[in-house]
């Protein structure tokens, strides 16, 4: 698991940082690769400045690097799916992905409209059935490009593993929330991505902060564990990371290379005790069905 400090937010500077990370993890650029799929984190209509979504420049920089290292003709496709409150046709345009695709010769695919086939996977003795999108099934290099984010209390933090939740083409994703942890692990088990590359240039935290971070690992559990450490959360206390580890997706243990993790951890906008307590109170109010009455929804 490698970390690098970005020296700016231009495509060139990001490319340099990503290249440094990939060198540190000895990533093998297989010459046989022709079809690359990139899964950024696109969440609602919040652009990169909020730290909630992957910067299209991060995707463009990685695509350029891969074309340099593998072949100029390699096909790069950005994939995302519709979500309960988000539509790809709007989000690709609004977050600058359409422009990036035009400028850098990258394709965009809405997995909710892509061909798919039924898939089945078992996690903790439960069987999960979903649709496997053709774009993902046929890719010979799959790159996961998540963000580090605080999230609902049960998950605590989301990053690489959770980003694959967005590869499920079914749009009304909130329906999976009662079994969210198991669903995340199931999707990762079924669609194993080859490389995880975190866009940590701007992170959301408790409020957006320019961290200037790029991280890479082939192990999604290890990179999530490292991301948790940056955000001040003990990865061993995150249930779905443990579940993913027990299902053989990766390991919570990681060896850091490159820029020390603590350099980023001290700058990460962490939750204060007051904020943690407020979050808990809010959740209790919502769970107790007081949300609607109190106007909290």
């Amino acid at each position: 698991m490698a970390l690098a400090k970005l020296r700016g937010d231009s495509v060139e500077a990001i490319k340099e940082g990503v290249s440094e990370c990939l060198q540190l993890i000895n990533f093998e650029f297989r010459p046989s690769v022709q079809n690359i799929v990139v899964k950024p984190n696109l969440c609602y209509y919040w652009d990169y400045s909020t730290g909630e979504t992957t910067d299209p420049r991060f995707v463009a920089a990685t695509a350029e690097l891969l074309r340099e290292k593998i072949s100029p003709g390699v096909r790069v496709t950005v994939v995302e799916s519709d979500a309960s409150a988000m539509r790809c046709k709007h989000v690709f345009k609004m977050l600058g992905y359409e422009k990036m695709a035009r400028d850098w010769g990258i394709e965009l695919v809405n997995l909710s409209e892509d061909e798919n086939r039924p898939a089945e996977v078992t996690v903790a003795g439960q069987t999960f059935r979903f649709k496997m999108p053709k774009a993902i099934a046929e890719a010979d290099l799959k790159i996961n490009m998540p963000k580090i984010k605080y999230t609902i209390e049960s998950l605590r933090i989301t990053c690489a593993l959770k980003n694959i939740f967005g590869c499920n083409p079914y749009p009304r994703k909130f329906r999976y929330h009662p079994r969210l942890e198991e669903t995340i692990v199931a999707l990762n088990k079924a669609m194993k991505f080859d490389l995880n590359l975190i866009d940590g240039n701007i992170v959301s935290g408790t409020s957006p902060r320019r961290l200037g971070l790029a991280m890479a690992s082939t192990d999604p559990v290890a990179i999530d564990a490292a991301a948790a450490c940056i955000a001040g959360i003990n990865p061993r206390k995150i249930r779905y990371l443990k579940l993913a580890s027990s299902e053989g997706i990766g390991s919570v243990e990681f060896v850091e290379k490159g820029e020390p993790l603590r350099h980023f951890a001290v700058a990460y906008p962490r939750k204060s005790l007051r904020r943690k307590l407020m979050g808990k109170a809010y959740n209790v109010a919502i769970r107790a069905s007081l949300g609607r009455r109190l106007g909290l929804e």
């Binding site: 209509y45 309960s84 409150a85 609004m94 909290l296």
Partner: protein, 325 residues
């Protein structure tokens, strides 16, 4: 004074807010609602009002004296014309219509049929902004030379939910033919109406429109408006921010005044809801309905009138025409 029978057409985001407030009015009662959503109608039936899937049926209901039109903007004109023909008084959410000709049709039809027409501009009922109006009229500020008005939020792109289920932004928001425009139509009309109320007619307006989100519609705009020879105002509106800001600053020859509408805070909202059942943020929405029902009940012409809505649209059209490239 008689109790006015209200019919609400459209139970989307703002329609639901109006329904919630209309249920609390002393001088009116909700008698009917109309919407195409079965779920919305089922919920409305549960509170004991007639629920229709077609607003034409609502217009035939004799217990409806006035209608609140809370439909997407492009649907205002047809609904308002039907309401006027059915002799129902009309309250239309801002902006009055997608374009000036449609807006004029609504005004003409209301006049022809002898029904009241009011446009929903809650800032006109907000104590913060009405107090500024009093200060201007009393001469306390002297001559107001310049004004800065900002209305910044995420606009239609806030995280929406029906119950606990997140829902997407309605498609009509992305279509200029349905919305009539971007942030100038959505938020700009509030400020244009408010400043016209303060200073009179806008004699010239120029604008700069921005497209951060690459949409056909502008997501931010800065306008420079002249009110005759004296007051100049800068209007700053945007859909680009997660932080809500609504602020009006007036600079007079005697005194300056700043009025800022506080954003909704979950904690203070919760306390207000528990103590008064209405959050302070939405009190102006409640006041405007109360006032509208009062006007209908007493046969008084309401304000902001349909003509004001037309004039606001004319200013917006001019701002679009005069946009710097």
């Amino acid at each position: 004074m008689r109790r006015v029978g209200l019919g609400i057409v459209g139970l989307g985001y703002i329609g639901n807010i109006h329904l919630r407030h209309a249920m609390k009015l002393q001088n009116a009662r909700v008698t009917a609602v109309a919407d195409t959503s079965k779920r919305a109608l089922r919920e409305a039936s549960g509170i004991g009002v007639s629920a229709y899937s077609d607003y034409d049926d609502l217009m035939k209901n004799v217990n409806v004296d006035a209608v609140i039109i809370a439909l997407p903007t492009h649907l205002h004109v047809d609904c308002a014309l039907r309401a006027a023909e059915a002799k129902k008084h009309i309250f239309i959410e801002k902006p009055i219509a997608v374009n000036v000709p449609d807006a004029k049709k609504i005004v003409k039809s209301a006049q022809k049929n002898g029904v009241s027409l009011m446009i929903g501009y809650p800032l006109r009922f907000d104590p913060l902004f009405t107090s500024v109006k009093r200060q201007i009229e009393s001469g306390e500020l002297g001559d107001v030379e310049t004004a800065f008005a900002s209305y910044i939020s995420s606009g239609p792109f806030f995280h929406r939910a029906t119950g606990y289920a997140p829902v997407p932004v309605p498609e009509w928001w992305f279509d200029p033919r349905a919305s009539g425009g971007g942030v100038l139509m959505d938020l700009g009309c509030h400020l244009i109406n408010l400043l016209r109320w303060y200073f009179g007619e806008i004699t010239d307006v120029k604008s700069s429109l921005r497209h951060r989100f690459n949409l056909e519609l502008e997501d931010s705009a800065v306008c420079l408006a002249s009110f005759g020879k004296r007051t100049k105002a800068v209007l700053n509106v945007g859909w680009f921010s997660q932080q809500y800001l609504l602020r009006v600053e007036l600079f007079g020859s005697v005194k300056h005044v700043i009025a800022e509408h506080p954003p909704q805070n979950p904690l203070t909202t919760a306390v207000q809801m528990l103590t008064t059942a209405t959050s302070k943020f939405f009190l102006p929405h409640l006041s405007e309905l109360q006032y509208f029902a009062q006007c209908v009940g007493r046969d008084l012409p309401p304000s902001p009138s349909g003509e004001e809505g037309v004039r606001d649209l004319e200013v917006i059209s001019e701002a679009y025409r005069n946009a710097a490239l």
